[in-house]
Symmetry: C2
């Protein structure tokens, strides 16, 4: 295996926490500039990624459902307020140390009018894609003289550009995932089931000392025809020689995620299956080669749609199999899927930002037979502002044909 | 350890799936009766628990964020429609076999007008607490002649009353959790950290052969003063003799959850800590004794608030420490927290339904020092309709003082 980022140590965790604390005033300043431009005097946020990014308050994936309004926040020109019910006030004061922690009961509407008055807000941007219709209506009724404005993508757009300590954490999460898959290889043999392999890979990622605090998402381990389902779940199917075995998985380190896919062969592959694999690998390599020429300054910065078209074009030019129906890739950070988007959707029409990190994951899926996807994360920086251009593969597990079992 | 429900076998899983399939027409009939009573001709549902309960479509906890509209459903007088994008159509057809699977792109608003026309709907109940404001507005604009009506608690109210195959699964999940904690005991010794114990308990619940498919929620393992935080997270604090160690955890079996808390003593407890424990245990026993007298027909069916008051009253009458700030308990099933509610909130003013299952979890929390909570699940059936009254503790791990380490 090539050199991967080392497992994070306690000192790294402290350093990253310090870096976040130092960066938060600038992150808030960017949001406040947007608020001025949009003519609102406050921003009400509810996404867990935004809580952490702007305030420091952290919710685990499983905790979101029970946390109520705890961690939700209000940004005004001078104020940063984090809500917390009685279960979360101690945690909020510890983690969101630069904020005023406002105790809140289960019904936010009761406190809304005095809360928004306390920051002098009359026109408030609200994360309308994440606040329920019922809550929006209750807040609107609770303070009829305060206007609510639907906001979408304001903080998401800022999070696309990654700080050095954010990139380090994505790289560290990739390192954990690389090592875990490498350690899993001896366990892959005919008779073992998808579910057992998914479980063992999860244990390798999460066991104490691995450096990861969580999975980025549930491990997919899919054998044979199941690998043709881009969102299949591991089952009790035992694996057997003669087909593909696809792993799609990621780790989380200090809040930041990784995401990778490898498609292995159990026993000797057929000529057809090898050809599918090689076509996908060529598609991925073509996209990466274009990105490399961009960071060398030989091409202008492309849009996500253009990079998708490079990989898709390789498969279509080959002509034997249909190209992937999904997009070529997605940004990653505090969320597993975030901007930038690389695909055929309207979201992919902007030039790639810098520095950022995203997946490059072409695939070919033969319904009912087999599927191949190869997914890596790349750090992309077109350079400028005194920075040299830079392209770095953060996932280092070998990408070539690998026969196991 | 007392007798707990055995680990589920493959035949149990098949039987439960059959029972769900048989029960779904009645579940849908109850919803349709409510629709008639409320004057709507369709119901648009988005909660994953409701998808599974009414249609059979299943989403894992981690999958909800990426599933888009897949699994969301529309019930009309004659129709049951399940949405699925290209990633989920095969799964939806397999699992929601009684539904019409409607392929859907990422923007539901584009398809909304023809979708609602296809079932002849003009007035649609929508799960307003779970549909975002942005989506609601897009749907309202996409079909301006179709009225959207905010609905809350319609299906939740039906799910309170549990079918036999639902109760069996909650009991089976309790059995997995009982056995896991029993197996963990030898690992509890001074020097081990909260995080290591939480991880080992998770492995015992989820390892292949345990019978559980997932955790019900992240394991809490909290030592000493941390046990006073009702929503603390395990840290790298090593445990040491002389304080409490609180575990709050649950398993999931075929979609149904368990939830239990045990507070153990590491080394010999102080007289004060023992007295706290015994007060909590007396509070719990008093609530259970009242429920037992109810199922014997000696008392009318109480409200959740009344049962909460019984346990709370024991701690208040003792007078040495403040009673728990949370409620005494909550229903459980496809969700870890659901109705009925046992507490001081308005939701607790209805008499307990039958048959149902809920937690009984009084606690005493001494800020900065220690906390004790004892939580069990009980199956409660006041009887009637030919059924005898029945009260059964589904969690069987011993509730007495237990000294470990």
């Amino acid at each position: 295996m090539s050199a991967a980022a080392a497992a994070p140590r306690a000192a790294d965790l402290v350093r990253w926490e310090d870096a976040d604390r130092t960066a938060r005033p600038e992150r808030l300043a960017r949001l406040r500039a947007r608020m001025v431009a949009e003519g609102v005097d406050a921003y009400f946020g509810v996404r867990p990624e935004h809580m952490r990014y702007l305030t420091g308050f952290r919710l685990d994936d499983g905790e979101e459902k029970v946390a109520g309004h705890s961690g939700q926040f209000l940004v005004a020109a001078e104020d940063l307020v984090v809500l917390a019910d009685s279960r979360y006030t101690i945690k909020a004061a510890r983690q969101a140390s630069a904020a005023r922690v406002e105790p809140i009961a289960s019904d936010l509407a009761v406190a809304w009018s005095s809360l928004v008055a306390s920051v002098g807000a009359r026109r408030i941007a609200v994360e309308a894609g994440f606040v329920s219709y019922a809550l929006w209506e209750r807040l609107a009724s609770a303070a009829p003289d305060v206007e609510l404005v639907a906001a979408s993508g304001w903080i998401e757009r800022d999070r696309v550009v990654k700080e050095p300590a954010e990139l380090e954490r994505v790289a560290a999460a990739c390192g954990v995932a690389d090592r875990a898959l490498d350690s899993l290889l001896p366990a892959i043999r005919p008779g073992v089931t998808e579910r057992e392999l998914a479980w063992q890979l999860e244990v390798l990622i999460r066991r104490p000392g691995s450096g990861a605090e969580a999975l980025a998402f549930d491990v997919a381990a899919l054998f044979g025809p199941e690998a043709a389902l881009p969102h299949g779940a591991p089952g009790d199917r035992p694996i057997a020689p003669g087909s593909v075995l696809l792993f799609d998985f990621g780790a989380q380190v200090a809040g930041y995620r990784s995401d990778m896919t490898r498609t292995l062969f159990v026993g000797e592959p057929s000529a057809r299956d090898l050809a599918v694999y090689e076509t996908v690998a060529r598609a991925q390599a073509a996209a990466v080669a274009v990105l490399e020429s961009v960071v060398r300054g030989e091409r202008p910065v492309p849009t996500g749609r253009e990079i998708d078209a490079v990989a898709r074009g390789v498969i279509e030019a080959d002509g034997r199999w249909a190209a992937y129906g999904h997009g070529l890739g997605h940004g990653i950070g505090l969320a597993t899927h975030e901007a930038p988007s690389l695909g055929r959707s309207a979201a992919s029409d902007a030039p790639l930002p810098s520095p950022t990190v995203f997946s490059v994951e072409p695939g070919i899926y033969l319904d009912g037979e087999m599927g191949v996807r190869i997914e890596d994360l790349v750090l992309f920086d077109a350079g400028g502002d005194g920075r040299p251009g830079r392209l770095e593969q953060l996932t280092n597990f070998p990408r070539g044909v690998l026969i196991v079992g």
